[in-house]
């Protein structure tokens, strides 16, 4: 039991970036835009944050300031790249999955290309010290994630802005007719998802490893995408879904440490989170919880 409790900080470390990204994806879909570029945006954020941290840390900047600025830059660049998706999906009525796929592909090349320019290597140089845990052994990313969840809940359900944003994903025509600027709202949402994915990418590198490589994100963005629908487009549900993934990952480690479970192939534990998700999706299927206008282009004035 104590071993499982001891794993909690690690679970949070793994969960936090997935959760932050998923919340971004959720906000985006709530406003009516599907963003499958989360994976690529995370990579871009991670690469930016790692590069920035290496360079600033090396210039003698105080450690925590450097970390803070690195995360900020990851977040900003993630947001900037998401503008491509926003432009395609919102202004040009493009197929949202296509522009998302494009960004994912592009991110593969751009991050490595940038590393080559900056560090003459296929990866960023390693930084000295990433984020530090607090007295409880927990990384700030966990608190960032919690803050993001609470904030998103507050934003979506407690203030007029959120009511407007959700209306854009359910019935953009209705929103437009009461004077809500659907395009602006959707821009906000797409950029928010880019910003959060970028931030999360930064969180991944700065807590889990020592540099950015082409392998750093490794499917987390797709897992976050799955967490959005698995969590039924609700902040709490998404949190639960992300926790499930994180815990299942940690379970592979716990299982390794319990002699009785070591007889099973490790792969069995690797598969676990995905099978559990599939089973849960089938079990709880039925009503469609997705925002009704998600994924559809909105043309002004159309009824």
């Amino acid at each position: 039991m104590s071993m499982i409790w001891g794993m909690l900080p690690s679970v949070l470390m793994i969960v936090a970036p997935i959760l932050i990204t998923a919340i971004g994806g959720m906000i985006c879909e709530k406003a009516g835009v599907v963003n499958i570029a989360l994976e690529g945006l995370m990579a871009i954020g991670a690469c930016t944050a790692a590069a920035a941290h290496v360079l600033m840390e090396g210039s003698g900047m105080p450690h925590s300031l450097s970390l803070f600025l690195a995360l900020t830059m990851g977040l900003v660049v993630g947001g900037l790249f998401s503008l491509v998706h926003a432009l395609a999906a919102i202004n040009l009525n493009a197929d949202q999955t296509i522009s998302g796929t494009g960004i994912n592909l592009l991110a593969n090349g751009v991050t490595i290309f940038a590393s080559q320019i900056l560090f003459s290597a296929d990866r960023t140089r390693e930084f000295r010290m990433g984020m530090q845990t607090d007295a409880l052994g927990i990384y700030p990313t966990a608190y960032i994630a919690i803050a993001v969840v609470v904030l998103s809940w507050f934003l979506l359900y407690k203030i007029p802005f959120g009511v407007h944003l959700r209306a854009c994903g359910e019935h953009p025509g209705a929103a437009e007719s009461v004077g809500i600027n659907v395009k602006k709202m959707r821009y906000f949402a797409v950029v928010a998802s880019g910003v959060l994915a970028g931030l999360a990418g930064g969180c991944v590198v700065l807590t889990q490893t020592i540099q950015y490589t082409s392998n750093t994100i490794n499917g987390r963005g797709f897992i976050a995408l799955a967490a959005v629908s698995f969590g039924r487009w609700r902040p709490l549900g998404v949190t639960g879904a992300a926790l499930l993934f994180g815990t299942a990952q940690a379970f592979a480690i716990i299982a390794n440490n319990i002699p009785a479970l070591r007889v099973l192939p490790t792969e069995v534990f690797n598969i676990l989170p995905y099978v559990v998700t599939l089973a849960a999706l089938v079990l709880f299927s039925g009503k469609n919880y997705a925002p009704s206008a998600a994924g559809k282009a909105y043309e002004k004035g159309a009824s």
Partner: protein, 365 residues
Amino acid sequence: MKLSRQKFIQSDGAVSVMVVVLGFLVGTVLVALVGKNPLNMYKALFQALSGYNIDNGRMNVRYIAETLNYSVPFILCGLSMGFAKRVGLFNIGGEGQYIMGMTIAQAIALLGPRIPVMHWMFAMVGAVLIGSLWGGVVGILKAKYEVSEVVSTIMLNYVALYLSRIICLQLPGATTYKTANFPETALIGNAFFQKITNNSLLNNGIFMMVGAVLVYWFIMEKTSLGYGMRATGFNKDAARASGIPVVKSISISMAISGAFAGLAGGIVALGSFKYGRVLSGMDNYGFDGIAVALVGNCTALGTTLAGLLFGLLKNAQALMQGKQIPKEITFIIQGLIVIFIALRSALKLYQEYLDKKQLQKEVGV
């Protein structure tokens, strides 16, 4: 003049070509920006395309053959994505289907009866079947339980990766990275191709690929099955109300979609390798297939051409690196092309804008 512009905007083919050209242009600028000579990039591409090495004037058909060979899995995975997309589904699961196809082909290659021709045929049939199972499950989950195919395919990709390891580790002579060598009867190499192409890896898989393209085109455009699927893809409700068995359509289409990717896995397994691989990561053909299909507009011909382009870029990677051009430029070009494809809808808006201007002039605003 005006008519031709309109025709151009409405022609998917012309726009795709323009988009590809644009992608290369931006790529060229990037190469120049990092201080490398873009000409070298084009030399590499030209060599991968024609086999002709501009620098030393040597010709080697093997390069053409390798480009073709690389394009086989791209095209097949593109067909996989395209088939699903035509029925209104987004199949991100090509990678998992590909992995399962690869795995089963390897298993049959090592365990199956060693009868010439029959053996590899068995293996391919196995790959196709497991691919269609892997895709069909997604279809059934979608049609029956409304599980988003995007989510379930992502999950099944990982399940496939690890399941493949579990299976392959049980195969004869398996270490953690490879199995024993395949018997001759399981290989799909083609001695004639090897002879005329200076020992390229080009193999009988290319015939299967061409067959698959024809099957794709035939099913989609010519048969009543394809008709029902296209109807389902365009308007699920109308299709259902008209008696088209939508659940079946969706399940079958995902199964067929998976079959293409499964076949790709089988061909790569038995065509490019002489032993079974125990994967520790993904080959990414399945994911790239998404882009291939999108660039090719999900048509048989378009996907084939797009797959050839991707094969060309892949084959050019090594040649580019030899000329100090980073291979990542090919990923950037691919990504840009797909993004430009997405922006293609802007042309439609532009056309509407022109029409409207025209009308306003007629009305005299």
